[in-house]
Symmetry: C2
DNA sequence: ACTTCATATGACCGTCAAGGCATATGGCGG
DNA sequence: CCGCCATATGCCTTGACGGTCATATGAAGT
């Protein structure tokens, strides 16, 4: 069953996988090499990432090539959206503070 | 010990707490009422959120008032940053596709 | 000082997820 | 058709986490 996007991102190894896929698609073997984690572990994480829609999979000869899908990350970005006002507010407050310091 | 920001956000109840604190600071009791979760559970989640810097705590009479701190959320936003290029790229590709359709 | 209210903490339990190992699948070359 | 290579899956153990209940802390009021 598909897991929640935040739960998926909670795993450091999975985030590292996403990092590796950011610039280019990669085969499972390449990911294993780049991560220093056992192949079954990587495959399992890929399963989770696939089920949650973070990555898609294409079969090329004997290899499976994984590619990043931006969808779920956009969703997370969307979740963050209402919070961005906070930083803006904080920055405003900071500005006001600095302004009052200046004069 | 302080837990990783993504791990903290993986908990639905903790996200709901953050949601509640988005607009205004609240006492523990108010949070309990708004969440329908037992008070000890809420206190523990608040502990985690505090340790990770998501919230700060002020003591007012017998109550403890919690307020949202944007720091860790900004960090998450920063982590997302290099991925935003992907959506941009995707949109570009879509545009190009639509353009080629038009003519 | 004693009680009460608001919150924090500790102990205990059930659940779940991650890693390691062994093994199954499935395409490909000989 | 058989063995090999790349990847996936099952089983098992272990550790972390969340919930509940009971209890500790600590400030306020009487």
């Amino acid at each position: 069953m598909s897991t929640d996007a935040f739960t998926v991102l909670a795993e450091p190894t999975r985030r590292r996988i996403l990092d590796q896929l950011r610039d280019a698609e990669r085969s499972v073997g390449e990911l294993v090499d780049g991560l220093g984690v056992s192949q079954p572990a990587v495959s399992k994480h890929l399963r989770v990432l696939r089920d949650a829609g973070f990555v898609t999979c294409r079969t090329a000869a004997r290899q499976r090539i994984y590619r990043l899908d931006p969808g779920p990350l956009r969703a997370v970005d969307g979740w963050l959206d209402p919070y961005r006002r906070l930083w803006a507010r904080h920055l405003d407050a900071l500005e006001r503070h600095l302004d009052s310091q200046e004069q």
